[in-house]
């Protein structure tokens, strides 16, 4: 078993499974966020449910955090191993001749998304922990919409948001379909998986970007 855990293929599969899990999570996240554009009430209701339901809070949230941590820690470990596998670099290396840019720069797009995640955790997760457990405020099921829209008021944050989601799109463009190959799936369905990957990699980040711009351009005026 220890041989299995250390093997390059097992690590690929860990990257694939955690990645696919995060892909699924994105779909849920974007659905909830879209409601903030359509109906603030629905957005508040969903946010409150996600924030106070014990199953979400104490079972699903830790699983999600574990998924994120496993994905980026393993990704960084593999990157270091891969660099060690070619200690002397080529003077001339035409990577673009045989592989797309996105597939060669997953570490770059991944690290940008990770940095964004840091800001995101600071903005929302830390804020929630503070609100609920440090300040011990009472439950307020109506606060989420306003809190969220306020975040998009500064231009710098909206710009960072947009850049991060462009990088996320690039990350998904390669990663989503690639995870099936890692798990040993390469057959007549692969072209369909690749097409779906491209659709997903464009539509989901674009929706996130749309939401950010929408709130930036429609601030709450008191």
């Amino acid at each position: 078993m220890s041989g299995f855990a250390k093997s390059s293929i097992a690590r690929k599969v860990v990257m694939a499974l955690s990645g696919l899990f995060l892909v699924l999570f994105l779909a849920l996240h974007v659905t909830i966020n879209m409601s903030s554009v359509i109906s603030p009430e629905t957005f508040n209701a969903w946010s409150h449910f996600m924030g106070y339901n014990p199953v979400v809070q104490f079972l699903m949230q830790p699983i999600l955090i574990a998924g994120v941590v496993v994905h980026f820690v393993m990704g960084i470990v593999l990157e270091f191993q891969n660099r060690k596998a070619r200690p002397v670099r080529y003077n001339q290396y035409r990577g673009s001749a045989n592989a797309p840019w996105v597939s060669r720069n997953m570490i770059l797009s991944g690290l940008v998304v990770l940095a964004f995640l840091g800001l995101h955790m600071y903005d929302f997760w830390l804020h929630e922990i503070n609100y609920k457990f440090v300040e011990a405020n009472p439950e307020d099921p109506t606060r989420y919409f306003e809190e969220t829209v306020e975040k998009f008021a500064p231009l710098w944050r909206t710009v960072l948001y947009v850049i991060s989601f462009v990088l996320l799109a690039l990350h998904l463009w390669h990663g989503f379909a690639s995870s099936f190959q890692s798990m040993g799936l390469n057959n007549k369905y692969s072209p369909a998986i690749r097409s779906f990957t491209r659709l997903y990699a464009i539509v989901v980040p674009l929706l996130f970007i749309f939401i950010a711009l929408f709130h930036h351009l429609n601030p709450i005026t008191h």
Binding site: S8, A85, G184
Partner: protein, 248 residues
């Protein structure tokens, strides 16, 4: 044709090495890339200099000995050929050509452009075979019927010549395409089933031990492979490996 060659010169595996400029003239388009290097070496020998060391044997694209990273691509800019089949007509008068060895920690440089690819041999020895009784009771291989598609896929995988271009091209110096081809050629045949579990586990273990990098599915190997070995083989090896690990 007049060319400027920038060739990696390195005395032995311990020394540092660097690119050295060699202007060369009178190169014909019909010469192969290796013949062009032969011309250079004759000139170097005539001048009393050390000739450039490079690997070659069959010079007809079947042995996998020749290597070379040419202008940043293994076996040069052409597709589905080895360096010995690359012709100088692919280059233009006045071109600069950078020639480096295949680079990977598992392919240490022996001298100049020649690298030690015995890590591939050790992967092969770890499981790239079938055990057959040859003491007079040998069963005719053709006595076992095999589906045409399976036979074709197995044959396609078996055309891997072990050149190492897949490793050289891969940004991670991963040997997955080579190992996958060697696993697949047996995994697709009934003769390969008896040792299937041990084969994939042992070959992957050896591949990792040799210090090759991890596959990130960029697909560079498949594009640069002179034999067109497909990425499907890697997916097959991953499947075989997961199934074998589940069995224990």
């Amino acid at each position: 044709m007049n060319l400027l060659l920038k060739i990696w010169r390195q005395n032995n595996s311990a020394s540092r090495g660097s690119l050295v400029d060699y202007p060369i003239s009178g190169i014909e388009g019909d010469m192969s890339f290796l013949e062009m290097l032969d011309v250079l070496n004759e000139q170097l020998i005539a001048k009393g200099e050390d000739p450039v060391v490079f690997d070659h044997d069959c010079r007809e694209g079947i042995c996998g000995s020749c290597s070379l990273m040419i202008n940043g691509e293994p076996h040069g800019p052409d597709r589905l050929i080895t360096t010995c089949q690359l012709h100088m007509r692919k280059f233009k008068d006045g071109d600069t050509i950078v020639i480096e060895p295949f680079r990977a920690s598992a392919f240490p440089v022996i001298k100049d452009l020649m690298v030690d690819r015995s890590s591939f041999d050790r992967i092969q020895q770890a499981g790239g075979y079938i055990s057959v009784n040859t003491s007079g009771h040998t069963v005719d291989a053709n006595a076992i019927p095999i589906e045409k598609e399976k036979a074709d896929e197995s044959f396609a995988a078996a055309t891997c010549i072990g050149c190492g271009a897949c490793v050289a091209a891969c940004k991670n110096a991963s040997a997955m395409l080579f190992t996958a081809a060697k696993v697949s050629q047996f995994a697709l045949l009934p003769q390969g089933q008896i040792e299937a579990t041990d084969r994939v586990l042992n070959m992957v273990k050896q591949m990792d031990l040799e210090g090759f990098g991890n596959c990130t599915n960029t697909g560079a190997c498949e594009v640069e492979c002179p034999k067109g070995i497909s990425l499907e083989n890697i997916a097959r090896m991953n499947r075989e490996y997961l199934m074998a690990s589940a069995k224990g």
